[in-house]
Assembly symmetry: D2
Homo-oligomer: 472 residues x 4
C-alpha cells in the first residue's frame, strides 16, 4: 500500500507542517514508517523513521524541514523487515542536483531492472523500488536535459503499480502509472498545489479538489504554481473482458478493486466514485445474493460497518452493534501468552449480550483473513447467546497473490484459496456463509476497468514469476 | 469518573496481568493515570503512574507485582493537576498492616473530613478521597478489631459517591455507596473472584457475571474464595419524586444517569439494564420528541452512533456515516496554531461529501460540550454540501455542576445553562435543535432511581457548597 | 548518604533552576532519585522521580516549579527498592499548611517512632524517615504555635543522623543533628540564602560560603533573608576517648569519617577541613605506615587518585596512571554474561602496559569492597606485565555495619570483617597489603570528634539492634 | 576522527556483542553516531543510529545482528549535520553481493571522485567518503574478479587519510592508507581475528596484539582465520625534512601527531609508541622549555593530566588537582542562559580552594581551544585564591586547518593562528604562557614520520583547495 502526499507552495511558504497533517490523514495507508523531504529551491532537507506519523515527527524535526516544495510518504511494509533505509522519500545526490522520490505500489520487474543496473556497476542502499527508479532516472537525465523526456523514458521501463512523486530542487512531478492501479489526485488553495493518494487529505487541509490523475498522466508543477500535464505514450495490453453492465472510466485501465473495498478511507472519492457508497452498495447486493432469515445484522468493526449498514438496508433486518471495538486497540500492549489467544480477540472486540442473546445474527466482514480469528469471534458471539450465526463477506474469495503492492502475508485468505464456501463456513462454525460475487463487486463499484487479479488469478501485466519469487 | 478492578485468586495464582487486562477494558473510564497493587498474603507490591494503562505498565513492572489478591485503578482527573501522588490505588502502612484503596466517585464532605483529621494531627500526601478514607478507616480499626465493623463505621461518615476496593494483606473488600451512584459488580471463574466497575471487563476476561453490588452493600472475599455480604445500615434521604411510569430498581437509590448516556461502555449492563439498548432507545424517543423532515441521519462519532441508529429507527430516515473519525486520533500530534482551530476539528472528523451533498441532514450527538466545536462541525457539514443541518442531543440540557465525580470542566455545557434551545441552535448555526426531555431520558433508561442533579439542580445529598467551593 | 540543597531568595526570584544546578553538583551523594519542592509563598509545587538529576528534570518540569523558596534532594538508596514514594522531598498537607522535608542520614529509632505513631492511628505512605519526622512535627505543632519550639520538641525524639531541610509556605529551616554526623553549610549571594550538604555546590553557583552548621544548630530563614540561629538543647552522650594528638572541632560531636575518605567531593571543605588535603595526607601516612620498595605508584581510579598522589609524595616512588578508567562508564550498557565477569572489569578499567610492564607496582584504593573485584584488577595488572603488585588501602578495615546512612550492602567489606590483612592479601593475590591505621586516619583528618563505628564497632548512640534488624 | 572495529570469527561465533564492546572501548574517537554490520556468510545485517554506542544498541538489536564476520564504527562529525545516513558502516547491495564499509579519516579528493562518478550516472545517498569508495570499488570489481586487485585499483585513486574496513559476505579486508595517517592494528584470540583503530579495544576484549598495519598495507581475512597481507604499490611523495634526532618508523609516512597528543586513549600504543608515555614526556619537555617558579602544578582535566604529571616530574613542582571535573558531565543537562556562561564552566570544573589559595599555580592543558573558556577557568582559579597563574600547553600552536579528518570547527585555535604567545597569554589573563616547541613535540613522540600540517601549514598530499572549500 503506502500513501504519498506532496505540496508546491507558489507563495513560497514552508510546507512541512501541512505535509505532516496530510500524512496524518493518510495514516491508514501505512503504519510502519513515515518520511518528509522538502526543498527550499537549493537544498533538500529530509527526515524519515520507523513508526506512526505522530511518533516520527516532533515539532523540532518539522521546523528544520525548510522549503516551499515537499513530499511525504507513509510506509506499509510489503517486503523486507523494518528498516529506516526502506522508509521513503528516497533522497539522492546526483549530477542533476538532489532528487527525492516517494512511491506507492509495487513494480513487478524491479528485480530485473535492479540486476541490470547492478551489472552496470550501480549499487543499492535499500530494497525500495524508489531507488531503482531514481537510478534509472539519473541515467536518462544523462541522455537528455529535458526532465519530462527523461521521466517518460524511465517510466517506459517500469511494469507494475506506481503512483509517484518526484521532487527536484525547483519542481514537483506527479505520475500515475498507465494502468491506473493506485489512486492519485490534485488539489489547490490560494497558496499551494497539492498531490495526494486520496482526496480525504485534501479535505483535511481544506484544499479544493481539482481532479484525479488519469492513468499514464504526468503532472509537473513549477514556479508560480503553473501546472503542466503530459501523457505517457504507453500501450496497456488488453486485460480481460468482463460482461457486467457498468462503464469503464478509463479505457484499458485496471484500478485496484481493494482500494474501494478495504484500503481507502470511506470519506474518499476515487476516480469520481465514493468509497463509502461503494461499501454500502456492496452490503445491499450481498443481502440480495445471500439472503437469510435473521433478527439482527451486526458488523465486525471497523471494516464491516458500511457493509453491514447496506446489508441491513437491503434485507430490512435491523442493524445493531453486536460487537464493540475497544477504542484503545492499536496501542502496544503486553500480549497474552500463547494459550490465551481468545483473550487477545476479546481485548479487541467485546460482544453486546443484550443485542445478541437469543438472536439469529448476521455478521458482516470485509474478508476472511484467517479462519482462526473468525472462528474465535463467532464463538464469542455464540457464547453471548446468539442462536444462529450467519457470516457475510463483502468481497469475493481471494485466491491469488497480489504483485502490485498489497501484502498477501497479512491479507491472504489461506482458507479461501483451497476450500469451497461450505467448507470455510464449517471450519468457522457458522450456520451459513456468503461471499460477494465478482459481478456483484463490479456492480457495487460501478466501473469495470478494475484489477481483479487476486480474485481471478489473471494479471493485467506480464509477470516473470520466477524472478518475483526470488524476491519474496 | 475513574474505573476500579479487583481480583482475589483463591487458587493463589498471580493476578497482576489479569488486572492489567481488566484495566485495559475499563480504560474509557479514565485516561490520566493507572495503578495496580497486589498482595502476596504478607506484603503489598504496587506501581502507578501518569498515562494510559498500556504506557504505565511494561512486562517487567507487571512481573514484580506478585500476589494472588490485587486491585487496580484508572484515573480520570476531576480536580488537581497531573501528579503521580493522585494516582491510585492509595497504599499505606499502618499498625494493621498494609492497606490499599481504590476509589471511584467524589465525596462531597471530603474537605470537612480532611480538616477534621488535620486538626487531630493527621497529614496528607495527596488530594485523593482515598487517603481520607484510609485515615478514617485506620482510626476506626483502633477502636474495633472487626474489620467489617470498622469499615461500616468509616462509611457512615462519608457523603457522596464511592465505589470502593479495599485490600488488606489477606482479604479484599468491595463497597458500593448507599445511593448507588457508581456501578460495581462481581464475577467469577474457576480460580478467581472479580470485582469491576463494569461487567465489560468481566467479559474480556471470560469471567461469569455474578451480580451487581446493591447500594450500601459490602462484599468481603477471604481465603478459599468465600464471599460474605454485609449491608450498611444507612438512611438515604428522600430525593425527588419523578412521575414517570418506570420502576425503581433499588428503593431510594440515585444512580448516575450519565453512566448510561455517556460514560459506560456500550457493551456493559448496569443494574440489569443494557447500556447499548438505553442509547438506542434514547435515539428513538428523541425522534418522537423532535421530529424533522430530512434525508439522512448521521452521528457525530463516536458517542453519537447508537443515538443516531435509534433516531433512524424511530424516524425511518436512513442512517449514514456523514462524518468519519480518524482512527489515529488519540495519539499526541503537533497541534495546529491558534488560527487553525478548524484544522484541529478536520484532523479528527472528516465529512463524507457523497453522503451529505444536497441533503437535509440530522446530526446526533450526546451533548453540546462547547458551542464552538459544534459550530465548526456544522460548518464542515454545510461546506460538504448539506442543504439543512438539524441537531439532536441525546440528553437533556446540563445546567448544574456535578459534585459526585463527573468533571464539569470538560463536560460543562456552558451554553445550555444560560440559553434557551433556540438561542443555542442559532449560535451553532443549525436549522433546528432538539434536546431529549427529562421524561424521555428516564423512560429510555427504564428506571427512576437516578441522580439527575446536573439536569435539575436538585442534589440527592446535603452539600456544603461553601466548603466544596474552596476545594475547586 | 543523600544530598540536600535549599534556597531562599529574598529577592523573590524563582529558585528551581538554581536548585537543579545545586543538585547536579551534589549528584555524587546519590544517583537513585531526585526531587525538588518549591513554595511561592502560598502553594508548594514539587516533582520527584527515579533517576539522575539530569534525567528527572526537563525544562518544562522546572518551569512549573514556581517559587522563591525551594529544597531539593538526591537519593542514595540505603534500604527498600527503587520507588518514587521513597524519593524526597516529602511533601504533606496539614492543618498548618504545606510542609516539605528533605533528609540526609538514617535515624536509628525510626522504627520505634513509626510504630508509636501507627498505634495512635497514623498511616505511612513511604518508608522514609522524612515521613516519620513530618508526622511528629505536625503533632508538635498542634501543641504550640511556635514553629521552632515544635521543631525542637520533634528533634528531641530523634536518635541518629539527620541533616534536614524543612520548608513551610513562607520559611525555610535547616537542621544538623546534635552529633553532627552529616555535613551541612550555609552560603549567600546578593539575592539568595543557600543551604547545602557540601560547599562544592555553593562554588558551582558562585555563592559565598558563610559557615558550617554546628551540631544541634537550627537555622531559620524568613522574609527578607533574615537568618536566625537556634541551638537544640540536647545532651550527646560520651562516645569513646581516642588518644590521638589532634583537636576536636565540636565537643562531643561524631562526624562521619567516611565523608572525608570517600563520599564528599574532593573540592569540598567540611567543618573547615579540606577533603582533598585529607585524602592526600592519608596517602602520605599510608606510605609511612606500610612502606614498600617499588617502581610505580598507581591509583585504582577514580577514588584512589588523591591517596596515590599522597603515597607517591610520601614514598618518593613515581606516580603513574597504570589503569585508565573508560570515560563512558556510568552509562547503562548491555552487561556481559555471567562467565565474562572479567570483561565487565576491563570495560571499566584498562591497564597501561607501557607503565606496568616489568614494574613493581603499588596500587592504592579507598577500600576493598569485594575481594573478587580487587582480585580481577590485580590479575589485569599482572597480565599487563607487572612483576609485583602491592595493595594499599586508604582506610582501616571496615568491620561493623553503619546505621546512620551508609549502605553496607554496597560498601561492606565482607573480607575485612573475618580475615586478617595477610589472609585478605593472599586472597586478592598481592605481594603485600596495607590498611591505614585508625590513628593514621584520625591524624590525616585532623580532628578526633568522628564517628568511627564501622571501624571500631562502638556506636555513638544507643541502638536497639532488635528493632533495627526488623527493618533491614 | 572516528573509530573502526572489525572481527572475523573463524570459529563461526556471532560477533555483534564483541563489536559492541570494542566500540565502547573506542567511544572516545566519536560520540555522534554508531553502527554495526555483520555477515552470516550469505546476508549482511546492520544497524546504525545517532548517539553513543550504549544509546544506539539495545540487547534486542544486537541479537538480530547475526553473523561471524562484522565491522563497527563510531562517528565523529567532521562535516554535515547529524543524520543517520552519514553514520557508518555504509552497506550496499551490488552485483558482487553485499558490501559494508567503515572508514576513519578524510579523503582530500572525495569531491572530485564524487563528481566524476555523478557524471557517469551514479547517485549518492550520503555525504560519506565510504559511499564514494564503495562506488569506485564496485566499478573496479566489474573489471576484475580478483578482489584484492580491485581494491588496489580503487585505493590508487584515493588521496588523503583512510583506515578502512571492507566486509564482503565471506571475507574481511582492512587497509591503512600509504601515508599511515590513522592508526590500525590487528589482534587475535583462540576464536577470532580483530582489527581495531587502537589496541586499547583489544585489551578490553582480552585479545592478543599481533601488529600495527603498515602504511599501504592491505590485510585479508578469509575462511579459517587465514590472514593474507598485501602491499599497495603507491609512491608517497617526499613531505618535509625535519632535523630532529629521532628515527622514522615507516619511511615516508606521515602519521597524525594529534593521535598521540589528544585523540587516542592514553592506554593505547600506536606504531609501537605508548601514548601515555608520550604525554608524560611532553610535560617533562614543556617544563624544560618553559620553566617557571611556582608552588603547584595542576592539570585542566581530563586531557591535561598526563602533561601535568610530566611537568611536575620535570620541574619538581608538586602536582595537585586544583580543578575537579564533575563526574556527571557528559549527560545532557538544561543549559544555563546566555548570561550565565561562567556557570556552564563551573558545572563542569570546580576549583579546590585549599590547593589553590595563596599559591603560584601552573595550569597545564593540551591546547587553547577558545580563549574565552581558558579565560573563564583562569578567573575561577584566581577567585579561589591563586596568587599567580601560569599556563602551559602540551602542543605547538595550531595555525592551519586539517583536511585529513580532524574537525577544526571544534579544535580550531582561532587565537593561536593570528596572535603571538604573549598576546594570547594577555587575553587569557595569565602571568605567563608557554607552548610546546615543534622539536619538543617530535622528541616527545619519538618518531619524525609525522603529519605536522596543522602546525606548519605544509601538507603531505596535494590538495585542491578550491574543491575542498566547496565542500566545507
Amino acid at each position: 500500500m503506502c500513501g504519498i502526499f506532496g505540496i508546491y507552495s507558489f507563495e513560497r511558504i514552508n510546507v512541512a507542517k501541512k505535509i505532516y497533517y496530510g500524512l496524518f490523514a493518510l495514516q491508514h495507508r501505512g503504519q510502519e514508517g513515515a518520511g518528509i523531504a522538502t526543498s527550499d529551491g537549493r537544498n533538500i532537507h529530509h527526515y524519515k523513521n520507523i513508526g506512526l506519523v505522530t511518533d516520527v515527527f516532533r515539532d523540532d524535526v518539522l521546523q528544520n524541514l525548510f522549503g516551499y516544495i515537499g513530499i511525504g510518504h507513509v510506509r506499509y511494509s510489503t517486503t523486507g523487515g523494518k528498516a529506516v533505509e526502506n522508509c521513503q522519500p528516497f533522497v539522492v545526490k546526483s549530477s542533476f542536483g538532489n532528487i527525492a522520490i516517494a512511491h506507492n505500489g509495487d513494480l513487478v520487474n524491479s528485480n530485473e531492472l535492479r540486476m541490470d543496473l547492478e551489472k552496470k556497476g550501480h549499487i543499492f542502499t535499500s530494497s525500495t523500488d524508489s531507488e531503482v527508479i531514481a537510478q534509472l532516472l539519473v541515467r536518462e537525465l544523462l541522455k537528455t536535459s529535458d526532465k519530462i523526456e527523461a521521466i517518460k523514458n524511465t517510466l517506459k521501463k517500469l511494469i507494475g503499480a506506481y503512483s509517484l512523486l518526484i521532487m527536484f530542487n525547483d519542481s514537483l512531478i506527479a505520475v500515475r502509472d498507465p494502468w491506473g492501479f493506485k489512486p492519485l489526485c490534485i488539489g489547490r488553495d490560494d497558496e499551494n498545489i497539492y498531490i495526494s493518494s486520496e482526496d480525504c487529505a485534501l479535505t483535511t487541509l481544506d484544499a479544493e479538489f481539482v481532479k484525479d490523475l488519469e492513468p499514464g498522466e504526468i503532472i509537473e508543477i513549477k514556479d508560480g504554481g503553473e501546472i503542466s500535464s503530459y501523457k505517457l505514450d504507453f500501450d496497456v495490453p488488453e486485460y480481460m473482458s468482463i460482461d457486467v453492465d457498468v462503464p469503464s472510466i478509463y479505457k484499458g485501465a485496471t484500478t485496484c478493486m481493494f482500494e474501494y473495498v478495504y484500503f481507502a478511507r470511506p470519506d474518499s472519492t476515487i476516480d469520481g466514485i465514493s468509497v463509502y457508497k461503494v461499501r454500502k452498495r456492496i452490503g445491499k447486493i450481498l443481502a440480495k445474493e445471500h439472503p437469510v432469515e435473521a433478527d439482527v445484522v451486526s458488523p465486525i468493526p471497523d471494516s464491516g460497518v458500511a457493509f453491514a449498514l447496506g446489508f441491513s438496508e437491503g434485507s430490512k433486518i435491523p442493524y445493531y452493534e453486536g460487537l464493540i471495538k475497544n477504542r484503545y486497540v492499536g496501542r502496544t500492549f503486553i500480549l497474552p501468552s500463547q494459550n490465551e489467544r481468545e483473550l487477545a480477540v476479546r481485548l479487541k472486540l467485546s460482544p453486546v449480550k443484550s443485542v445478541l442473546e437469543g438472536k439469529r445474527v448476521v455478521l458482516v466482514d470485509d474478508s476472511v483473513v484467517r479462519g482462526t480469528t473468525s472462528r474465535r469471534i463467532v464463538n464469542m458471539v455464540r457464547k453471548a447467546g446468539a442462536k444462529e450465526v450467519h457470516l457475510r463477506i463483502g468481497s469475493p474469495k481471494i485466491i491469488s497473490p497480489c504483485y502490485y503492492g498489497i501484502d498477501m502475508a497479512t491479507k491472504k485468505e489461506l482458507i479461501a484459496s483451497n476450500k469451497t464456501e461450505e467448507e470455510i463456513g464449517k471450519k468457522i462454525g457458522v450456520e451459513s456463509i456468503g461471499y460477494l460475487s465478482l459481478e456483484g463487486l463490479i456492480k457495487a463499484i460501478g466501473r469495470k476497468d478494475l484489477c481483479l487479479a487476486c480474485i481471478t488469478g489473471k494479471y493485467p501485466t506480464d509477470i516473470n514469476f520466477e524472478k518475483i519469487a526470488k524476491r519474496l
